[in-house]
């Protein structure tokens, strides 16, 4: 449906744009990067570092790192149809836009929020760095004793005239150790109800009052850090949104996060994820009728593949219904939980299919892609926890979409 709608509305303009992209890619995309997904953790593919830097700079030059952003802020000012076309053409040659990944939470979360809540000055100072992929951002939201209950945070920002002094501790600050800026949720008024005294501050990481410590996870090294603020300084000019209105800013930011987490599938990093049933045929074998030689597994595999198909069709339907005018929708919670469930189920099935060969931690007994299986499986346990846990998403659906009475606070 989408394809035909697009054709009618944009017609030949879009076709011309596609041709332009194709030509540009031919000249500018380093073929060695075909299918290479730069991991947020960085360095996973050190061998491609130079190519990646070149590719990133060329994309940024065209504004295609954040193509839907206004040109004034480093984007290309493209509408949704053109953004899709760009993505499709890039996908066709295996080119991946590294900027949303390289820049930490910049393009997917902080940037869109600055676009909505920022002053002109803030947009000009911060957005181009994000769009170019040169300035990395982390987010200081969770605190050790808060978890899903963000609003109970205790990191304090005291007003010192032209700046704030920040004290406290954040956790799960992804990429904090490699970021230049941090978007932090801080308490600016202790005298009011907990949601009401919170503000959103942007502060530079390179200052004496900020210290980070990486967190080791059950899956091994991780992008996450603990971040400590000891008399850290944030300028008044870097308050995003109104003072004590940080709760609304963060709600919006989290909607952007959910919207970015709704695609199901592993964390990528491979040229092409193998179809699970093909992997199963390889490890499990087939019977004389060509059926997987484990009927119980086969049946559960089918359920999973059907779930994945339904998810994909739903994502397409949401896009088609939005008719080229996508927005952070109520569907985000549904899609986040669906994506989570499918990704985790896929990992569990992969583990089951590969047996002991999918359970290696290190060593020569395992191929590299076999070793990745168990780490992905463990890492995947986090996706139903962060960015609003599965339970929080259910609360949101129950309350905001279905209109059932509040269950989170009182019930």
């Amino acid at each position: 449906m989408t394809a035909s709608a697009t054709k009618t509305e944009h017609g030949s303009d879009l076709e011309a744009f596609r041709a332009e992209v194709r030509a540009w890619l031919k000249d500018n995309f380093p073929p060695a990067l075909e299918g290479i997904v730069p991991m947020m953790e960085g360095g996973a593919d050190g061998s491609h570092a130079a190519d990646l830097a070149t590719w990133r700079d060329r994309l940024a030059e065209r504004g295609w790192g954040a193509p839907h952003w206004p040109k004034a802020y480093g984007g290309a000012g493209l509408d949704h149809a053109h953004v899709r076309a760009l993505a499709q053409e890039m996908g066709r040659v295996g080119a991946i836009n590294p900027i949303p990944l390289l820049a930490g939470m910049g393009v997917t979360m902080v940037g869109p929020t600055i676009l909505e809540y920022g002053t002109d000055d803030q947009k000009q100072r911060h957005l181009p760095g994000i769009a170019s992929g040169k300035v990395r951002w982390c987010l200081g939201l969770s605190e050790p004793n808060a978890g899903s209950d963000l609003a109970s945070l205790s990191t304090l920002a005291e007003d010192r005239g032209d700046h704030f002094v920040v004290n406290g501790q954040k956790i799960w600050t992804s990429g904090a150790d490699i970021s230049q800026w941090c978007g932090a949720l801080v308490r600016t008024d202790k005298t009011v109800a907990k949601h009401k005294g919170i503000s959103f501050l942007m502060l530079p990481m390179d200052q004496p009052g900020v210290r980070t410590r990486p967190i080791k996870l059950i899956s091994g090294a991780s992008p996450f850090c603990e971040t400590f603020f000891d008399d850290a300084r944030a300028e008044k000019d870097d308050l995003l949104g109104e003072l004590n209105d940080g709760w609304n800013v963060i709600k919006r930011l989290l909607q952007h996060e959910r919207a970015s987490q709704t695609s199901a599938g592993g964390p990528g990093g491979k040229k092409k994820a193998s179809a699970l049933h093909e992997v199963a045929k390889r490890y499990v074998g087939v019977d004389s009728a060509g059926r997987l030689d484990d009927p119980d597994l086969r049946s559960r595999l089918t359920r999973h593949l059907m779930d994945a198909a339904a998810h994909k069709l739903t994502a397409e339907r949401i896009a088609a219904e939005a008719k080229g005018n996508p927005q952070v929708s109520a569907a985000a919670s549904i899609m986040k939980n669906s994506a989570t469930g499918i990704t985790q189920a896929r990992s569990e099935l992969m583990l089951e299919i590969m047996g002991q060969q999918g359970f290696g931690w290190e060593g020569d007994a395992y191929a590299a892609d076999e070793l990745a299986i168990v780490r992905e499986w463990l890492w995947g346990k986090a996706i139903s926890i962060y960015g609003g846990s599965a339970e929080v998403q259910r609360n949101i659906i129950s309350k905001n979409i279905l209109g059932l009475p509040e269950t989170t606070q009182k019930g």
Partner: protein, 378 residues
């Protein structure tokens, strides 16, 4: 909901208001209590014919409007909401599809206008045992003179008492269990040797067992190719499955809406029960499941309309996901309503009973998971 064009939106709205006003579930209750053998209200079907619904799949040259399966699905969804009984699915979609897919020009000219104007009701007679298994067809059609003689019987034919003719799946060759050697025949219900008896089922809808005792038909009764009817049958069944899935979508939507309404109004322990988090989370999961299932159903209908090459895969996906979802929702409908949902006075039981019938017809979830795996080659 798929992005609809203006015509589709109009038809959907028309269907919604007609069903709500003229054919709410109360009418289904009246029909059940009246024990009508054909198990639908003739005036309701007549109204559907008047609204042009029997012609939705039919090209204009045969008297239809050629609006396609997605549009037909919108209507079935609304009918499913109120359990409106009629031969619309069996004849207007399945019987009509059989002719569109397999009919010769002459057959189309003879049959389609009658199906559109409601003077003929054509349904598919496929299964012979209690479970859907097209390849197990044992009814034989033997060549005789210029035509064929059909001998055997069919069970649980949809709208089998109302039908004026059947598309009969017969074995003209091959062994039982084989896809080879099946052929389809158009057989009038009044043909000599055809007899039928109504089944009384838990969902109170129209089914018949039909016996074909040495029924003679002419060569022109053959629909599609001799001995190679299986691909045609499979295509007809897939259209039926997509239609059933659309009806199920409506039935599940209504069951969920009833449940949600109850959660919002019923009080226990001093508060509405929808404020209990455990119920709220279950409701949230049902809502999510509905959205996911809906996408599958609409994708299947659209795939048929656009003659995509993955119609079979999507129809199995739609029937299966919708079946699982309806199964869950129909059980939760009763459980969350508690005692009141168990009483015959309340409508909940109708939805539960209809749910299991819809799940079983033309292949239950297990059937379609098996088929999906085979289609994907593992």
């Amino acid at each position: 909901m798929a992005a609809l064009n203006e015509e589709q939106s109009l038809i959907r709205d028309q269907a919604k208001s007609w069903v709500t006003e003229q054919a709410p579930v109360r009418r289904f209750r009246e029909m059940r209590d009246a024990r009508i053998e054909t198990a639908y209200a003739p005036e309701a079907f007549a109204a559907m014919v008047d609204m042009g619904w029997t012609g939705i799949l039919v090209p204009e040259s045969y008297g239809g409007s050629d609006l396609g399966y997605l549009t037909f699905g919108l209507i079935l969804e609304e009918l499913g909401r109120q359990l409106t009984a009629s031969p619309l699915l069996a004849s207007g979609l399945i019987g009509t599809s059989a002719l569109l897919l397999g009919g010769s020009e002459e057959q189309k000219q003879v049959w389609l206008p009658k199906l559109v104007d409601g003077s003929a009701i054509l349904t598919l007679a496929v299964d012979e045992g209690p479970r859907h298994a097209p390849t197990k067809t044992a009814l034989t059609a033997a060549k005789s003179g210029g035509g064929f003689v059909l001998d055997g019987s069919k069970a649980m034919v949809l709208e089998g008492m109302a039908a004026t003719a059947y598309v009969v799946v017969a074995r003209t060759g091959g062994a039982a269990g084989s896809e080879d050697g099946l052929s389809l025949f158009l057989v009038p219900a009044e043909a000599k040797g055809v007899s039928r008896s109504a089944r009384s089922t838990a969902d109170s809808r129209g089914y018949a067992d039909v016996t074909f005792a040495k029924v003679e038909v002419g060569a022109d009764a053959l629909l599609g190719k001799l001995d190679a009817g299986y691909p045609l049958l499979d295509a007809i069944l897939d259209r039926g499955r997509a239609g059933l899935a659309a009806e199920m979508l409506g039935t599940a939507s209504q069951a969920f809406d009833m449940t949600l309404e109850y959660l919002k109004t019923r009080k226990q322990f001093g508060r509405v029960i929808g404020s209990f988090q455990a119920l709220g989370h279950r409701a949230a999961d049902m809502y999510s499941g509905m959205e996911l299932a809906r996408s599958c159903v609409e994708a299947a209908l659209q795939a048929i309309d656009s003659d995509a090459d993955n119609v079979a895969e999507l129809c199995s996906l739609a029937k299966c996901k919708m079946g699982d979802h309806l199964h869950l929702v129909s059980n939760e409908l009763i459980q969350m309503h508690g005692g009141i949902g168990m009483t015959d006075e309340y409508d909940a039981g109708f939805y539960l009973k209809r749910a299991r019938a819809l799940e079983a017809i033309y292949g239950n979830q297990a059937f379609h998971r098996e088929r999906y795996a085979r289609l994907l080659g593992y």
